[in-house]
Amino acid sequence: MNLEAAKQVFYEESEELLAAMEAALLAVETSSGTQRAEHLNAMFRAAHTIKGSAGLFDLGEMVAFTHRCESLLDRLRENELALTADLIELLFACRDHMSAMLAAVHDKRAMPYSAALEAQLDAYLNQPADSSALPPARRPEAQVERQGSGEHGVASDYWHISLRFGPDVLRNGMDPISFVRYLGSLGRIVYITTLYDALPEPDQMDAESCYLGLEIQFAAAAHVDKLAIENVFDFIRDDSNVRILPPHAHIADYVRLIKEMPEGASRLGEILVRGGALTPLELDEVLGIQREQAEAGEHRQLGELLVEERLAPPQAVEAALDKQREQVAHKTREHRAVRVDAARLDGLIDLVGELVIAGAASQLFAKQIGNATLLESLSSLSELVERIRDEALSLRMVPVGDIFSRFPRVVRDAARELGKDIQLELAGEDTELDKSMVDKLGDPLLHLVRNAIDHGIESSELRRQRGKADYGTVWLNAYHESGSVVIEVGDDGGGMQRERIRVRAIERGLLGADEVIGDQALLQMVFEPGFSTADNVTSLSGRGVGMDVVKRNIEAMKGNIEIESMPGEGTVVRLRMPLTLAIIDGFQVALGKSTFVIPLDMVLECLDLPADTVAANRHYLNLRGEVLPFLNLRQLFEVGGIAPQRQAVVVVQYGSHRAGLVVDRLEGELQAVIKPLGQLFRGVKGLAGSTILGSGAVALILDVPDLIQRAAIDEQRRLAVSSQQEAKRLSLREENTR
């Protein structure tokens, strides 16, 4: 019975609902007819559910605000108001406000309040119905076909629980709310109605007596049966009135319920419909049966009740219907997914990691013993471990679309603010990525998209001059590529202006006045802190903050950034992220006494280092007619001792780069559980982390992308420097001879 845990579920669910609301808002602008109605319904349902959940946690302000949004949506749904652009804007603002409220609850801050928003809401809520928008008058509900017996079940998928607390509940030291909370731990409370009909006049009221009643619609978790629910109310069953009706209970059961509860058929019936226990048709049936029984001599006033029921407020009926649609949607979702705490998943993956290490150790010992049977059984065991590892890791993978989905709104708002016409294209949303990374990618992507909109896309006039479509296009794309996930942010704008970047870089002293620098290196200058080529600062970007943060965040996740930009045609920023941060397939190599691990996904092939290459002190070799540059890790890492006679080359590929890594020995594949090197090594270059070998020794994992990139940049810079020195030397000699 943990309220905090329940609250966490509330945040998550509400966030999902707000996201759904936003998606519907974006779609409603361009839709019409039944589609538009469906979107409005979706928004209404989202607001309605949030209101309900907020009520459970006693968040009065949130309930009040959400209720007003709901009313506004209801008027729209009923066509009492026309859906104007202003109104859509207001709904966006309302959604954001709800989101802010949710964040405030989460961070335990004060609830935000916006007088302007409330005023706008008031204006719309008090506006008389737009008569032109009214739909054709409602036809009276079709006559209900009634089965007299009541032997068939109702449509509701939920348990219905009726509670009438006995007067002594409080005196016995029990708190009614604690039962509700405990019930909540067995499933989800879908709808709850508090009945205070039994409250006497204040002067007759006994402060220590309990007069409360509750009607609850309850979605039980999979393992919960009737006994479990009954047990919840064990302590009060003796002196309280507890009725539990299973899902799809017989109509006759409801007839009995209504008859036995003290509130009367009309009141209870309305509650049942509102809570979704009964559809209005079913209620009609229940009341009909009751009337028949009553006419047989039990009650007198039921004829009136029925009339009243027929005229039941349309809202209640609507709500009941909405609830049912929601039930269907919810049910399908429940079948698809199980909510699991991320920490528990991480715990599982840690354990699998330990299992992998322990497995490697046993295999090592088995090899030393040389027992064939043992080796065989161990190899089938390790195959299973490998599969468990893959499954466990895939549990943490989530589609990248989870982050993409927030961008339609971002692009819409930003485009509007800048007065540009921009469309967003999304692709590869199904590409999966480690959950921990998805969470951290949101902000960097946001920066990049805003940059593309602000600096990338030109104004419409300029676009027309350049012979491009009036509207600019920004796209987000994700795909897998040799062991990494690539996420692209592209635009068809003006491209980056290299001269401008050069000038700014020289101004800021990042570049010598006549320093030669590679194209990629020049473009990467925009990631320097405080670097901006924008002429004017807009609210979106141009302050020169952000891009360096983007780069830092991406590199902290062992990813890297590439820029491709064609003047006049556009820019693509490519983020290349490792697939996972937990366990990888590795390839083990030795340098002197040390062991290093190369991510196997990046290894293409291995070969001997040709002797003539060593002799010629070249740093490239001929790989079946292709030039393959290589890095001598011995030199790079300053490994002591003498290199063996024959060294090996591991050919690695990373993105479009291909290179060789020269090592002493090849030691074969392993599963590497990545252990972070810790804070002390945060500045380290060329290493992606460490892992523990079967022998118990620590091996370091090479950061191949970083090694290749640094090698390329370093060599260019070194050559540029030496050619400058040469030029200086020549000019000096000229002066001397003169």
Binding site: E638, G683, S690, I692, D714, R718
Partner: protein, 181 residues
Amino acid sequence: MSQSLMPLRRGSAPQVEPIEQPQYLTFRLGAEVYALEILHIKEIIEYGGLTEVPLMPRFLRGVINLRGAVVPVIDLAVRFGRPATEIGRRSCIVIVEVEYADGWHDLGVIVDAVDEVLELRPDDIEPAPAFGAQLRAEFIRGMGKLDGRFVIVLALEHVLSISEMAELAGVDSLLDAETER
């Protein structure tokens, strides 16, 4: 077990509880004896199984596997500006806990030999001399008096400051790359 102790304390009049003396572990490094407050020390293990990390400053000797966790190992002698510690028969790695940013981090420290655990009363500890200890002033918490000799009580938070060492490591790896060019 702890329950059986409880009744003794509960209800009894406030009595003079013996003030716990801070305990210190003394160890040798070169010719000098140093002391570290025992609160920070998790365990002492035999030297071995060290993996060197390339391109790191010399005071960062490498990493070890401590029951599945990868723990960096520091050579205090280098950190104190002396030649690197030679590994001998009695060399040990003292595992200490250091607080930094988001929590506690384990670090290993190579020492030539571990001596003993002793108690030092606060008035047994003299303030550090202005000079003469051949150490950066903030590294010394004080000079402990022990049988007429002095032991240098180290200020762990400065000696093993992660932020400072990480900065050095970052700069050093850049410098190495620079000279390599």
